[in-house]
C-alpha cells in the first residue's frame, strides 16, 4: 500500500481513482461494464440484500453480462429493501426496490439483456452534493 505523504499524493491518487471510476461509468464502448450497486446496510441485509448480491454475482457471467457488482451503504429507501442501483453504460442510473433473487433474475433477463424495465423502480428523489 502506498502511503499518502502529502497533499499532492492525495490529489494524484484522487485523479487516478477518478479516472478508473469514470472509465467504469461513462465510457460509451459496448463491451463496457454495467455497474450494479447493492445497498448493503443493516436494513438491506436484514431484508436479504446479501442473497441478492450473491445472485447477481453468480448469474451474470452465465448470462454473458459483463458487469461489476459492488456493495454500498443505505440509499434511504428502507420500505423497498433490498434496493439495487443499476447503471448501464451511457444511461441514467436506475434504482430498483424489493430486489429478491427472483426479481434479480427478472432484472437480468429483462433490463440487463433487453433494456426492458421491470416493476419496482424507485425514482431518485433527492439531490446530493
Amino acid at each position: 500500500m502506498e502511503k499518502i505523504k502529502s497533499l499532492s499524493d492525495l490529489k494524484r491518487i484522487k485523479s487516478q481513482v477518478q479516472e478508473k471510476l469514470d472509465l467504469r461509468e461513462k465510457s460509451e464502448q459496448v463491451e463496457n461494464l454495467i455497474q450494479i450497486r447493492v445497498a448493503m446496510a443493516t436494513c438491506g441485509i436484514a431484508a436479504g440484500s446479501k442473497e441478492t448480491m450473491n445472485y447477481f454475482i453468480e448469474h451474470l457471467a452465465e448470462n454473458g453480462i459483463n458487469a461489476v457488482v459492488t456493495q454500498t451503504g443505505c440509499m434511504g429507501y428502507c420500505y423497498a429493501e433490498p434496493t439495487v442501483e443499476i447503471t448501464k453504460p451511457g444511461k441514467e442510473p436506475i434504482v430498483f426496490g424489493h430486489v429478491t433473487p427472483e426479481k434479480a433474475e427478472e432484472i437480468i433477463q429483462k433490463y440487463l439483456k433487453h433494456d426492458e424495465l421491470v416493476e419496482g423502480i424507485i425514482p431518485v428523489n433527492y439531490n446530493t452534493i
Binding site: 436494513c43 428502507c78 420500505y79 429493501e81
Partner: protein, 158 residues
C-alpha cells in the same frame, strides 16, 4: 475461604483475554463483550476471574454487567428470539407479536424455555424499520410479522 469453581481451560482463556487488554480496569466492558462471545453468557465464575485479573472488586464487575442490557447472566436458548420494540415496530404492532411469543413459549422476556431451546428478549431498533415489526431468531430476520405468523415461525425450529 470462598471457593470459585471453573474449568481450567476456561480460566486460561479468560486470563489470556484479560492479558490481551493489559488487565486494565478501563477495558472492562471490552473484556466482558469478548467473554460473553466466548461463553455465551457471564456467570458468576467468569466475573470473579475477570475481577481478579483486573484487580477490581467483583461488585464493580457485577455492577457493570447488570447495568448494560447487552450483558446476560443466564445462558441464551439454542434459538435466541429477539423482538424489536423500536418505535417503528411498536406502532406497527410489535407488542402483540411479543405477547404471542410469550404465550406460546410460556416464558417472559429475559427467560429461556426449560428445554433450553428458545430464549426471548426484546431489543430497541435493529434499524430495519422498513420491515417493521421485525423479529430476529438467531441470525435470521423475519419482517412484517403478525401474531398469526408466530406459531409457524416457531415450528421452523422444532
Amino acid at each position: 475461604m470462598t471457593q470459585i469453581k471453573l474449568s481450567k481451560c476456561k480460566i486460561d482463556q479468560l486470563v489470556a483475554l484479560c492479558d490481551e487488554h493489559g488487565n486494565q480496569p478501563g477495558e472492562l466492558i471490552n473484556i466482558l463483550h469478548k467473554a460473553q462471545e466466548l461463553f455465551g453468557y457471564l456467570p458468576r465464575e467468569v466475573q470473579e476471574v475477570i475481577a481478579r485479573q483486573l484487580n477490581i472488586p467483583v461488585s464493580k464487575v457485577y455492577g457493570v454487567v447488570t447495568f448494560y442490557s447487552f450483558f446476560s447472566m443466564t445462558p441464551k436458548g439454542e434459538h435466541p428470539i429477539s423482538v424489536c420494540m423500536g418505535t417503528a415496530c411498536y406502532v406497527r404492532g410489535a407488542e402483540k407479536v411479543l405477547d404471542e411469543f410469550k404465550r406460546l413459549l410460556n416464558i417472559n422476556v429475559g427467560e429461556t424455555t426449560p428445554d433450553g431451546k428458545f430464549s426471548l428478549t426484546s431489543l430497541r431498533c435493529v434499524g430495519a424499520c422498513g420491515l417493521a415489526p421485525v423479529v430476529l431468531i438467531g441470525e435470521k430476520v423475519y419482517g412484517r410479522v403478525v401474531p398469526g405468523d408466530v406459531e409457524k415461525i416457531l415450528q421452523e425450529f422444532q
